[in-house]
Symmetry: C2
Subunit: 219 residues, 2 copies
Amino acid sequence: MPVQKFHKKVGLVDDHQLFRKGIAELVNSFPQFYVSFEASHGEELQKMLSPLNLPHLIIMDVNMPNMDGFKTMLWLKEHFPDIPVLALSMMDDEQSIVRMLKSGVKGYLLKDAHPSELLNAMNTISDNGFYYTDFVTGRLINSLNENDSSKKQHQQLTEREIQFLCLCCSEYSYKEIADKLYISPRTADGYRDKLFEKLNIKSRVGLVLFAIRNGLFKL
Amino acid sequence: MPVQKFHKKVGLVDDHQLFRKGIAELVNSFPQFYVSFEASHGEELQKMLSPLNLPHLIIMDVNMPNMDGFKTMLWLKEHFPDIPVLALSMMDDEQSIVRMLKSGVKGYLLKDAHPSELLNAMNTISDNGFYYTDFVTGRLINSLNENDSSKKQHQQLTEREIQFLCLCCSEYSYKEIADKLYISPRTADGYRDKLFEKLNIKSRVGLVLFAIRNGLFKL
DNA sequence: TTTTGAACAGGTGTTTTCACGGTATTTTTT
DNA sequence: AAAAAATACCGTGAAAACACCTGTTCAAAA
């Protein structure tokens, strides 16, 4: 693949080889772009990003091993802030989207987008610097209106409450949890009641679901 | 794309358009194959499969909306048992793999496989009828040795137990769950005790974690 | 035809969870 | 220095969860 004038270099970062190669074929089929390098995760990207041959655009998966999309974005923002990144993800949940937008991606496409939308996004990012679909902006706006309820909530949880919450995601009784935290069972009850109040939850199962949904407890 | 002799027709089924188009490009880049049709899920496949123009091979995603890979396989086995199916999945867990193998797929590739392995798999399936990697057969053999513990456990759950289990993943009390299932609270207790016994679990939180980890309850 | 198993229901008692009421100490913020 | 927030703790009583039994009905499998 020769380097041609007016053809913009694209870097691909995705751990799924088949998907990556597929996208590569697709990108190369667009006359104005070509894939200049591929990496399977953030660490590999770090090694491949030579200042002498930077891509004009990076297309990156969000969920990757070793170094995920979010961490990779933080690194890119520090070292190569001028390279726009288009995030590709299967996650359509608010958390993932908002997280990536905050980290500075210039576009966020779902993996079931139409190829023409990919091309459109790539062109728009090249020309205007960003490409946000209504879907994505909708999610973002939605997240802004949730300050009072779900979002602020688990940000104002204290360290100790989070520890307690994570231990609730187990078959331990509150008494056993208290043992593990070196507190009295009554105190554990206190944390539970406090969490119930803060999160507007009424049962331990509710705590478990909250912890999992908000990534405080990994399965 | 003209129909050429010796060029084998391939059908693609995957709900992620970008991935599908990518794979399509890839398949079309192999001289001995070309994509004759694409569908985004099982239902669409049913409509597109004309007996007058059957593909020689179907490449199918496992996780799809409407009609997933497993259901689609059941239908294919009944109506077009002679078309070999190559499963593509991101799931590398034993459950998914064994389930698909049992349903009769002729190959199972992870989406992070190398494109050359895809080509290899397609060729091998065409020539020999099947292509199973060591990874896949390993998982299969492993699953045979797990009859007693993890595998049999959640496959021998009855429909009613699964319903009950899903309702446990909420803030409903067992009494309220009983109401929703139109059974007496005692019966609900019975289901709980039965599940505890079958799954070797001791608390409701354990049930919740089990249900989530095994995909019986979607967050 | 006997047996197995799913679905359903009840009894009894213990343990855990939850709701509601508090207090005291320390750290952080203002 | 005062206010606020985090940490830790306690009592009571009701409700829910859990353990360990009993049983019937019905349909499918051996």
